[in-house]
Amino acid sequence: MKLKMREPIRKILILEPSVLIAEGLRHVIDNFAGYDVCGIIRNQEGDIWAKIDDFNADLVIADPSVFDNRDRAGAHDMIKGIANAPVMALISTAADASYASTYDGTIYLSDTSDDIEQKISTVMKAAPAEQRGEGEELSSREKEILVCVAKGMLNKEIADHFNISIYTVITHRKNITRKTGIKTVAGLTVYALLNNLIDMNAME
C-alpha cells in the first residue's frame, strides 16, 4: 500500500543545445517535488514541432538559441500553440536576452536552484486551469461519463454511447479520478449517489 502522490507530476520539456546546461537543469529540476523532466531536445533537426507535441509536456523551458535565427523571434508562440502549455525562456547567451520578455518566465544561468523552483512554480500557478491540468468541478461531459461508469458500463460501451474514441473516454476517466481523488468503480458510484447524479433505486 504505497502512499500515492495526489498531485500529478508536472512534465517539463527542455529545449537546450548545450548538453551541459540541459543536463544541469535536469539535475536541478529532479530535486524539485512534483516536477519531472520528460525530455530534452537539443537541436532543430527534423520536425521539432512534432517532437514537442509528442512529449505532451505541462511546461516547456526553451533556450531561444535552439532555433535558427529566422525562427527565434516566433518560437515562443509556436511552442505554446503546439504544447498548449506555458513556455519559459532559458537565456544562455546575452544576445538572446531580448527575447525573454515574450516568454511566460525567464531562467538565467546565474539563477540559484531556489530561484528556478520559485519561477517555475509562479509560471505554473499563472497558467490557465486547463493548461495546469487542474480543473475544479467536474464538467458536464465528465459527469455523464461518471454516471456510465457507476452503472457498470465498459470504456468501449461508453465510447460507442457518446460516439467518441476510447482514448477520449480514458482521458475523461483520468480527469474524473484526478479531480475527485476517487479511483475505484465502487468509490465513483458512491460519488455519483452522494451528488445525486444517479438514483439509489437505479442501482438495485
Binding site: 500500500m1 504505497k2 502512499l3 500515492k4 475527485t180 481523488g181 476517487i182 479511483k183 475505484t184 465502487a186 468509490g187 458512491v190 460519488y191 449517489l193 452522494l194 451528488n195 439509489m200
Partner: protein
Amino acid sequence: MDDMKDIHTGKLFSTGMKMAEVPDAEPRLLGVMRRLGIRFGFGEKTVEEVCAENGVNPHTLLLISKIYVNDKYAPSKEELSRSSIKDIVTYLHNSHDFYVGVALDTLEKFIKKMAGTLDEKHSRIITKFYSGYKDEILKHFEYEESVVFPYIQMLDEGKLPGNYSIDLYEESHSDVDEKLNDLKSIVMKYMPETCDDNLIQNVLTCLYTLENDLSKHTYIEDELLVPMAESREKYLRKQMDSSVTDETENA
C-alpha cells in the same frame, strides 16, 4: 538530515542499545514490538538481551524499526539474511489480528457513529461502501493466512511444496488500497454540510492511521517477506537438484 544519516549507517538502532530507548525514535515501534511477541518490562536490558528472552531475532526488530522510521528504506542483502523469516511471519500474522480485532473495529465504530447522524440514504451509501472494503481486505488477509504464510512456514522448515511458489503471490493489494483511499476522499470531501465535523475528523484520523500502518505492512511483505522467501526457494531447489544428482551417481 543528521537523523537520516544515522538511519542509513544504522546508528539510530543497534542491538546494544537499551530496549526502552527504541520507541523514542518512533512511538509506533511499541506496536511493532508487541507484534513480534516482545513483552514489556525491559528494565535496563539491551535489545539483544530482551530479544533473546522473548525468542525473537534482534535483527528482524531492527530492520522493521528502520522501515517504520524511514519510508522506502531499502534493506541490504545482509540485513535480509540476518533476519528471521519466522519472526516476520509472526509479525505479519499479529498485524492481521490487530487490524481485524482492533483497527477495523475502531474505524467501523466511528463510521457508524458518523453515518448515524446522516439521512437514511447517505447513511446506507457510506456503510455499504465501507462493508465492501472490509469484505475485500478480510478476504486478502485470509488468503495470506491460509495460503502464503503456511507455505513460508514449510520453506522455513526446509520443505519445498510443489503446489505453490512465492511468485504466485501477486499484488492483490492494489484495489484494497485504492478503496481505502477513495473512502478518505469521500468522507473528507463529500459529506453533507449537516454532518458533524468531529465525527468526520474521527473517521479521517482512523483512515489515515490505518492507511499508514497498512502501507508499512505491505512494504514489509513486498521488500522483506517476498525476497527472503525467494532466496529460500532458490536454496532449497538447488539442494534438491544436487541430491537428485547424487542419487543418480550412486545408482
